[in-house]
């Protein structure tokens, strides 16, 4: 067995290489002085990065993406928390039905979901725009938020909430003073997880977007235009950095959350 010790790390590195290779290429090409991505490389340039800041549509798409991601994550977290509290703390008629409907979006292909929402918005006459994208993102993120927050709620006894009410606090006061502070790490985790999904969501957004687009859709439309390809790649390189920071932050928060209430 001992001589096989290297196998695990080797396998891990291999997978890491497999998963990171395209990313490294994207970063490499973002500094390449050519509009087509082929070898050999043409020469070093930072002009794509300079162009980045001079492309208002790109910055607008970035702003839109942030707006959609923040808004939809907020609502997904809020609704997810409400649903999770109801499910984990109460018995009620139709509980099973409710929780299966609420988790069903996880297993529905985004294509079908996108189509259904598109038909719905068309039928009731809502023009497609960032709100429709945001609604779609809440629908797909709600079950994840619910599960993350539900896991946290299951991790501490309902006695804590009872103790608070026993000591004279109302139910809603208890939510504010006891429940929410304790599930805060999971609320943040749910928010970040929704945020990251929303940030790079393409398949669903594609159906629901109007004239104001999010970054993935903008990149897609730019990909149809060869001269803009390097710019798109540069955006990706920047996004990699930003999302790495976000991931590190969420990891850190999770560890922090786990440590804080080990009791």
């Amino acid at each position: 067995m001992k001589q096989l010790k290297w196998l695990g790390p080797f396998y891990y590195s291999l997978l890491a290489l497999f998963l990171y290779l395209p990313i490294l290429f994207l970063i490499l090409f973002s500094f390449n002085d050519s509009v087509v991505l082929t070898f050999p490389l043409k020469g070093f340039t930072i002009r794509w990065y300079q162009q980045l800041l001079q492309t208002p549509e790109l910055l607008a798409a970035f702003r839109n993406t942030l707006w959609v991601a923040v808004t939809s994550s907020f609502f997904a977290t809020l609704l997810g928390a409400m649903a999770a509290i109801a499910i984990s703390r109460y018995t009620f008629w139709g509980k099973r039905l409710f929780s299966s409907v609420a988790t069903f979006p996880i297993v529905i292909p985004y294509l079908v979901l996108g189509v259904a929402l598109l038909l719905f918005f068309n039928a009731i006459g809502i023009p497609l725009n960032l709100w429709t994208v945001g609604i779609g993102h809440v629908v797909i993120n709600l079950p994840y938020a619910m599960l993350i927050i539900g896991a946290r709620l299951a991790g501490f006894s309902a006695n804590l909430e009872e103790a608070s009410m026993d000591l004279g606090e109302t139910y809603w006061g208890t939510l504010r003073r006891v429940t929410i502070p304790i599930i805060m790490p999971s609320l943040i985790a749910a928010f970040l997880s929704s945020f990251s999904t929303s940030f790079d969501e393409f398949a669903l957004t594609f159906f629901l977007t109007g004239t104001k687009t999010t970054l993935p859709i903008y990149l897609y439309s730019q990909l149809r235009f060869p001269q803009r390809l390097p710019l798109a790649i540069t955006v990706a390189a920047v996004v990699i950095v930003i999302s790495s920071l976000l991931l590190i932050l969420s990891e850190w928060l999770r560890h922090w959350g786990e440590k804080a209430y080990k009791a």
Partner: protein, 369 residues
């Protein structure tokens, strides 16, 4: 002042079982009066409904039927935060995100007690449970016993009319538990408030309580002082659950009110029902506690008492006592306890020895269930 602190009238609580969707009755038609300033214990095995009853009093559950009066006021639909009762939870339920002092101050803060008063009362409460120095710690940094005291202080600081304690000592080790039992009793006597205490530990119940209610499968079986419960159990369940009891199947040959005559080991014995219920001829249970049985050598004179011949089949030394198992000539077995007190009458028997079994008729009783 009301005579009764808490009164339950015909309380029932049904739950729907999550899997089978069947209704399950946790508490079945319980009627109870708990006196002002009393240390009242609800005792029973797990699943007997004692915790549910406590939660009904606290207001965490709403009874399916019946009424609850607290301090004479109908509290049936009142939410927990409007009741003058506070709870000490089995797992303490300390808020993990607050310090000890913040935990204790919680109830005062909710009631918007002025800051300075909060501080003094928290300090007093912590002093009362000997935790004055730990106010700034987080609950996770405390030992089990310390957490227990914080939970107590957190409830008591609000001057509740009734304190509900749900197996508060269950998680502590034996030595600490004994210590806390004594402290709790002292505290209750000093404060003079009603304690309603839930436990499955009969010894704890007997040592601490003014009165005990024994519950089984949602039913209230018996209520009484520790002495009454121990010496006059009204049912086989209570007799078996509290202390140790020998049960012999007998046939009542003759009855007279709550008195009955039956055959044990070929002798006719007269015993009474502990609750003075009328008895009728037929099958019944003869009960006697092991420590009430005395053993004599086969040939010694047993004067004025019942003497039944028997044989020793088992012998165990348990420090203060010797436990013998004897078999009567009709095949029934009895367990006996003989205290080792250097008494002259104390005779050592070996397995196989033929002996005589003796007891007082007043120590035996007849049960019908």
């Amino acid at each position: 002042m009301e005579k009764f602190s808490v009164q339950l009238f015909d309380i029932s609580k049904d739950f729907e079982e999550t899997d089978s969707k069947q209704m399950f009755t946790a508490v079945n038609n319980i009627t109870l009066d708990i006196n002002q300033g009393e240390f009242f214990t609800m005792l029973g095995p797990s699943g007997c409904g004692k915790t549910t009853t406590l939660r009904l009093i606290a207001g965490f559950e709403v009874p399916t039927s019946g009424r609850i009066l607290i301090q004479g006021k109908d509290s049936t639909g009142i939410p927990p935060y409007k009741r003058p009762v506070h709870t000490v939870f089995q797992n303490y339920a300390l808020f993990p995100h607050m310090t000890v002092a913040q935990n204790v101050a919680y109830g005062l803060k909710v009631k918007r007690v002025p800051k300075t008063e909060q501080e003094t009362r928290v300090a007093e409460a912590l002093a009362m449970v000997h935790l004055s120095r730990l106010g700034n710690r987080m609950p996770a940094q405390l030992s089990g016993g310390e957490q227990q005291r914080v939970a107590l202080a957190r409830a008591l600081v609000n001057n509740p009319e009734v304190l509900l304690l749900d197996e508060p000592l269950g998680a502590l080790d034996l030595k600490l538990r004994k210590e806390m039992q004594w402290e709790l009793k002292q505290l209750q006597q000093k404060l003079g408030i009603t304690f309603i205490y839930v436990t499955h530990d009969q010894e704890e119940a007997l040592t601490m309580s003014d009165r005990i209610a024994v519950l089984s499968e949602g039913n209230l079986i018996q209520v009484g002082t520790p002495d009454e419960i121990y010496n006059y159990p009204n049912s086989r369940f209570v007799a078996a659950f509290i202390g140790e009891t020998n049960f012999l199947d007998v046939n009542l040959d003759k009855t007279e009110g709550f008195k009955a005559w039956c055959q044990i080991g070929g002798q006719t014995i007269c015993a009474e029902h502990p609750d003075d219920l009328p008895l009728f001829p037929g099958k019944a249970i003869f009960a006697i506690r092991p420590e009430k049985i005395r053993l004599f050598a086969q040939n010694s004179q047993v004067k004025g008492e019942i003497a039944i011949s028997a044989k020793i089949t088992n012998r165990t030394f348990i420090g203060t006592d010797i436990r013998y198992v004897v078999i009567l000539n009709d095949g029934q077995k009895l367990t006996t306890l003989t205290r080792l007190n250097g008494d002259a009458e104390n005779v050592h028997f070996e397995i196989g020895d033929k002996i005589q079994v003796s007891f007082l008729e007043k120590d035996a009783f007849i049960l019908t269930e």
